[in-house]
């Protein structure tokens, strides 16, 4: 790597995006070249702001939560529009509510409904009820007499 290539790769090196061999080359070059080493140290002074993917977390309580932006009546197209930053949280709450509602509905349905197997059997049975079914097991079977 020459000096130009090394300096081009400073941001990637800072963000740890360089491949391992490239990183080793960079370290070796900075170890030998005092000009590039100085340039990297200057780069490192501002890199936490200019080349970081995110700002460091502020101490707890020092920052307020993002407020909703209420757009004034002059704003178009609708005055009631809001930039709502808490939407994901509301979605999560809605998902949880929906799951609880569905679970409760299913439970209530199963509690008051007879088992599906016996119901379907009763509805689809080809056999007519016998005298014993209607009046108990001690009832004599008179169906043949009645038919004769």
């Amino acid at each position: 790597m020459n000096c130009f290539e090394v300096r081009q790769d400073f941001p990637a090196f800072w963000r740890r995006e360089l491949l391992e061999y490239r990183r080793a080359e960079m370290n070796a070059h900075l170890d030998q070249c005092s000009k590039c080493d100085g340039a990297f140290r200057t780069f490192a002074m501002t890199a936490p702001v200019l080349h970081s993917e995110h700002a460091p977390q502020t101490p707890a309580g020092s920052g307020a939560r993002p407020r909703e932006v209420a757009l004034g009546s002059s704003a178009r197209p609708a005055s009631s529009a809001r930039v709502n930053y808490s939407e994901p949280r509301r979605w999560l709450a809605m998902c949880a509510s929906a799951i609880i509602f569905i679970a409760a509905s299913t439970g209530a349905y199963l509690a008051v409904t007879p088992p599906a197997a016996s119901l379907s059997e009763a509805l689809t049975s080809p056999r007519e009820p016998s005298m014993q079914d209607l009046f108990g097991p001690d009832t004599p079977d008179l169906s043949n007499d009645l038919a004769g």
Binding site: F40, T42, M45, L50, P77, Y85, M94
Partner: protein, 212 residues
């Protein structure tokens, strides 16, 4: 049914839509479409504001101001430009104006540093590049010191540096965004780097004196 009602109310169906469709819906009076756009781009816009201002409150206020401006100017948006790029132009100009409003002239980098900041400067002088990379991300004072160093730059120099280094924009893109000539952008970038190197060397020399 509940799910359908919820999706209508909270705009779940909007998530999968591209920016252009959401813009068309927002222009048609669908306010939830713009909310989805704001949710989608907020982190990026806020991160850009944080490169201009160390105070998170200011960054958040500017982020919200940016979306208000975008909302009111949505009719002027043209499809030829990505919505993210259009937003970036708004927020950059907003931050530049705020920098100019807050400070008419660049501040001198004063010498009242905290012990942690001095320690970080000492590390910048002495540590290996690998150590610097691994340490800086976790250090709040490295971030603060970087902001103080950038505060010494003129607003236009700082703006050019952020757009060029952080956002990866080229000279013509910066010139178009800021309404400047390409020559001005090049000069400002050169001056910014010069000033930054000068201040940084001063700081490192001071740190060496303190540590010896």
């Amino acid at each position: 049914m509940l799910g359908l009602a919820a999706s209508r109310k909270f705009g779940w169906r909007l998530i999968s839509k591209p920016d252009e469709e959401l813009i068309a819906e927002a222009l048609g009076g669908e306010s939830s479409a713009f909310s989805e756009l704001a949710t989608r781009h907020r982190a990026r816009v806020e991160r850009l504001c944080q490169r201009f201002f160390s105070d998170p409150e200011i960054a958040r206020d500017l982020t919200q101001e940016c979306f208000i401006r975008a909302y009111t100017a949505l009719a002027s948006y043209r499809k030829e430009m990505p919505f993210g790029g259009w937003l970036r132009a708004i927020v950059t100009n907003l931050c530049y104006d705020e920098l100019r409003r807050r400070r008419r002239r660049p501040e001198e980098l004063v010498g009242d540093f905290s012990a942690m900041e001095v320690q970080w400067m000492h590390l910048v002088n002495e540590a290996t590049p690998e150590q610097l990379v691994s340490d800086a991300e976790e250090r709040r004072h490295a971030h603060d010191l970087a902001h103080r160093l950038l505060d010494t730059l003129r607003p236009e120099d700082r703006t050019v540096l952020i757009m060029k280094d952080s956002e990866g924009m080229n000279v013509s893109e910066i010139a178009q965004t800021m309404g400047w000539s390409a020559a001005k952008v090049k000069i400002r970038a050169f001056r910014a780097r010069q000033a930054l190197r000068r201040e940084s060397e001063r700081l490192q020399a001071a740190a060496r004196r303190w540590s010896s």
